[in-house]
């Protein structure tokens, strides 16, 4: 895959210099806007995943690229923290975290898909979701070596299921790829990156930010807990909506798998993973909540944007 389209001055300068054969330079610009900052950050993160055919692999660790990445990450983390209000969870921890997630109220894309969405809207949603689902569970995998023994083992117990229990045919990202192909969509990674709104870039960048910084390991696991704990019931609604619109069985199967899998994963993420982390490192509880909030809040922002666009159309 090639670098995405630039969305402003900074991303244009970055992508030009990444593609060129000469020294990386000219990155001391301010981003034009959120789109510009987040496509630049997304592309720099992507250097750590699959990379780009038009960028030399050496540039993953280029100091100028890392300097820019760090600058954009600081701004992004400050913005995420400013959106969040610190809260004390009820005891015991697992019930407190489940309650915190349950009390968060936001717009539901799954309810719209279940009852009202048309085929075009659902296909647009799947294209947007493909940016994450085609590398589902990869960002939190960065957290594994950064954890103490008990939460590390627990996270791997969950991840083993996300990665198909050793069977590539059952790996969740692959199930989504099969669903895309059957729906007549492209299943190569980030084929639709130029079409996604900034909210999707933020969702993806937050997971990479949390995963790639040891300091943010608790936010990474808190994000996972909120993601898993808001998946089973919405996945059932998605599956029903896709069936109503007669989308292919492969795509429906992806969501049906998540009804059942995430009913397990939410218990593991909250109890055995985050629970073991805060038992081992109690001071990390605030970052667990910060990560959970960020997941819920960024999902809300994306859902609100799409519902507003679809109502206006």
């Amino acid at each position: 895959m090639l670098l995405p389209k630039a969305r402003g001055e900074l991303s244009e300068a970055l992508f030009d210099t990444l593609r060129s054969e000469s020294e990386v330079e000219g990155l001391d610009l301010r981003p034009t806007d959120g789109d510009d900052a987040h496509i630049a950050l997304w592309a720099m993160y992507e250097l750590h995943y699959a990379g780009f055919e038009d960028v030399d692999d050496e540039r993953e660790w280029n100091p100028e690229v890392l300097r820019l990445r760090r600058r954009l990450e600081r701004d992004f983390e400050a913005e995420l923290r400013a959106r969040h209000t610190a809260t004390t969870l009820d005891e015991p921890f697992a019930e407190g975290l489940f309650a915190y997630i349950a009390h968060h109220d936001g717009p539901s894309l799954a309810a719209h898909v279940q009852r009202k969405a048309d085929r075009e809207q659902v296909l647009e949603l799947l294209r947007h979701r493909s940016i994450y689902h085609l590398k589902e569970s990869d960002p939190v995998a960065w957290s594994v070596p950064r954890l103490p023994t008990a939460p590390k083992a627990a996270l791997m117990e969950l991840q083993y299921d996300e990665f198909g229990g050793g069977d590539p045919n059952r790996l969740h990202a692959h199930l989504f790829a099969l669903g895309l192909e059957a729906s007549g969509l492209r299943a190569d990674p980030f084929a639709y990156i130029d079409d996604v709104p900034v909210e999707i870039l933020e969702l993806n960048n937050a997971m990479s930010l949390f995963g790639l910084h040891r300091r943010l390991r608790a936010a990474s696991l808190g994000h996972l807990a909120a993601f898993e704990a808001t998946s089973s019931l919405p996945s059932r609604r998605m599956a029903q909506g896709l069936a109503r619109l007669e989308l292919p069985q492969e795509m429906i199967a992806y969501y049906e798998e998540h009804v059942e899998a995430d009913a397990v994963h939410e218990q593991l993420a909250v109890r055995t993973i985050c629970g073991a982390l805060v038992a081992a490192e109690p001071h990390l509880v605030d970052d667990v909540v910060f990560g959970a909030f960020t997941c819920l809040d960024l999902e809300d922002r994306y859902a609100q944007r799409m519902l507003d666009e679809w109502v206006a159309a």
């Binding site: 998946s231 089973s232 009804v259 397990v264 218990q267």
Partner: protein, 70 residues
């Protein structure tokens, strides 16, 4: 720090208000006598009786009133 007697790692975990987690491979017979094989490292067996995906939990317990949760 390692706990004195090692880490807890039970085969069965009862989740308050939610499912029963089963580690490993098992055959679970549902209320109609139909046998279901587990397919994942950990499985969640419904305890509230309201899952639409019996015998597995599908998260429905979370929308039940507190008195109807197991």
């Amino acid at each position: 720090m390692t706990p004195e007697h090692g880490f807890e790692h039970p085969d069965v975990i009862i989740c308050p208000g939610g499912p029963l987690l089963l580690r490993g491979d098992h055959v679970v017979e549902d209320a109609d006598g139909v046998a279901h094989e587990t397919v994942r490292p950990v499985s969640a067996v419904c305890r509230c009786g309201k899952s639409a995906d019996q015998p597995w939990c599908d998260g429905t317990h979370k929308v039940l009133a507190a008195r109807d949760r197991p």
